[in-house]
Symmetry: C4
Subunit: 227 residues, 4 copies
Amino acid sequence: MRDLLREVLEANLRIPKEGLATLTWGNVSGVDRGAGVYVIKPSGVPYARLTEEDLVTVEIETGRVVGSRLKPSVDSETHRLLYQAFPEIGGITHTHSTHAVAFAQAHRDIPVLGTTHADNFNGPIPVTRDLTPAECESEYERNTGLVILDVLDGDAASVPAALVASHGPFTWGANATKSLETAVVCEEVARMAIHTLALNPAAEPPEHLIRRHYTRKHGPDSYYGNV
Amino acid sequence: MRDLLREVLEANLRIPKEGLATLTWGNVSGVDRGAGVYVIKPSGVPYARLTEEDLVTVEIETGRVVGSRLKPSVDSETHRLLYQAFPEIGGITHTHSTHAVAFAQAHRDIPVLGTTHADNFNGPIPVTRDLTPAECESEYERNTGLVILDVLDGDAASVPAALVASHGPFTWGANATKSLETAVVCEEVARMAIHTLALNPAAEPPEHLIRRHYTRKHGPDSYYGNV
Amino acid sequence: MRDLLREVLEANLRIPKEGLATLTWGNVSGVDRGAGVYVIKPSGVPYARLTEEDLVTVEIETGRVVGSRLKPSVDSETHRLLYQAFPEIGGITHTHSTHAVAFAQAHRDIPVLGTTHADNFNGPIPVTRDLTPAECESEYERNTGLVILDVLDGDAASVPAALVASHGPFTWGANATKSLETAVVCEEVARMAIHTLALNPAAEPPEHLIRRHYTRKHGPDSYYGNV
Amino acid sequence: MRDLLREVLEANLRIPKEGLATLTWGNVSGVDRGAGVYVIKPSGVPYARLTEEDLVTVEIETGRVVGSRLKPSVDSETHRLLYQAFPEIGGITHTHSTHAVAFAQAHRDIPVLGTTHADNFNGPIPVTRDLTPAECESEYERNTGLVILDVLDGDAASVPAALVASHGPFTWGANATKSLETAVVCEEVARMAIHTLALNPAAEPPEHLIRRHYTRKHGPDSYYGNV
């Protein structure tokens, strides 16, 4: 639990450090499946004075805050739904990073335009449908999670990221650190995509190249990295 | 008064630190309503050697400089008019931040394109009308304040920011720090908007989502933050 | 002379610090009219190890290097011609800053789009004509100065900057520091202009506003700054 | 060999420092022709904890790893093919820098638009053809080198850079440091080109100016720099 708190703190502090959001925006959480809880950034606390003690522990099943003096991020219920839906997820990051938000606001998927994308995501980063008035009225944050589930269609592994329409990116991974790094990549592929589409609106990579790059880093035939 | 000086100094120093303007550009002021004065950056002093002693104290009612050896920012009369018109304002920031200036120069409001905007502003950030030749001729800085009043139409609370046409953003808030942070957000939503409009010139968020995000952080039903 | 060397060194070191050019690109010079010389950056020396001893002193009249062990910047003859043509100039900066170069490469003046520009330049920053094959063949750097003179038409004061076509900006001022700061402003107004033109290709400020801003900071009716 | 390890380490560390790639992306190698080997970044090691001991030594002729405990970069075989094809190359850099990748993804050469480009490259930076399904299926990294060779047509000296289609830039030079610096320039001319083409899609510099700038810094008539 000590380790989880430290990791979640450090991942949160990387949000401003990596240029992913300004002021208090964004949040990272990490899970302890054994204890049935996740640890998340408190609501509205500036990064400059965020400590391990400020982090909020929440029960995955009930949403009950466990022994914390602060309220969790307003987006906590979105995290909780994703943890419930996908037992393999160990960390979640939400940012308002500039270029990923631009795609979310434009209601456009981030398309696969090259190997940088394919090294990390097995397909476009999808944008969700808009929430309905009723979904915004009540249990808004939980419903935000539900439109993410909709667009994932049961598969959180191939593309560990989604753009909530008119809002911004959620990313996830095996732990808090991985989810943060996926947020970094999501922003960078969005930035590359904006410039690429300006140079060539019809840009498209060959499917076999994309396949090669994804499998080079993921799955049984992967040969990237040093363990 | 000590505290006000320190806060106004620190808010001014955040202008270059947050990347909102180069060289000596920009200025922040903060008010002491009890004493009937505001404190503002002096004209043309580089941020690198700005001290509390350099700050200029000005009477809200008369515009008279009180016991300062330097001239206030040339924009001081614009600040003063806003303080006179809106008793609830405690701080004002003016910058020449790149992307907000681009909207001001393009004579376009910064439209509401998503939740980042709606978390902070209850509507588009409006651009003023152009000043007339007569308004530029005499009492130019006071007239700059008047066109801001025009576009606000009595409501400084819903959208605490305006773009002066062909010039740049003014933002305000409960104090100097808040006005500076609103300037940071104004620049960021402008940057996001430019990329969004490039990806989708017809981008528009659902009204009920925007409403939900604004009320989540503002007003009686707000549930954001930790007091 | 000691002071001049220090100022020219510091102005050169601000080129990378202000993000105006990468690697060894760019150069600043400053003049000692009494001694009839200017001091300029040597050719091809990285900023990280540039010292006062590396700076090269050149006679304005003859172009002869005086007591320096290094060759001056390849652009030295362009500086020299400008010093000869305009006795009031005390410093010159040449950079390859990204957005100003984009205008130079696009063969477009940087237009006056708002007060940030008008605070510093009394009109568009002009792009020169292309050099002819003969002008490129022999005395190329001196001819680069001559096309700048062409576009200035005898007036180096109103707009202390020009873009050499397909090349980049030269800026100047009362001394090396001022010329460098004008290079900073030139890059920033270019950046603002690119975003403005993307939002509104027909953007144009009212002439009387532009006039007011320029005269607010320049000439007999100026009331900006603290002496 | 000590010196080579230090140089290759430092060149690799400049990838994130110069903003050329995020996380573990990118790699630099340097060659020892006498020993018949090159030294390259290991696969997937974060820059923050990269040491000389982590670098991997590979035989140019056989591709065999010599006395290293880590696997080389997955792109190692691309480096090896280039070292085999061009004996004059002493260092190679591969990055996923944003703007160069945008051109690679758009399947567009980076055109010569001005002197910044011509100071460094004697022509457009070419984009390769797409790899075929068979070329992606087997010996993919070696085939990536082969499409670079195709586009170079035997001349690695005039333009020491190429963009692999839908992927990103490879650059090279006399040593690891030079190849890294060429990667910096490649990214910067790509950035300038994107802005230039937005301002003027038909922008083109005069051929004689381009010729003058290239020969000013390269070949027998060069007069740039201090030895």
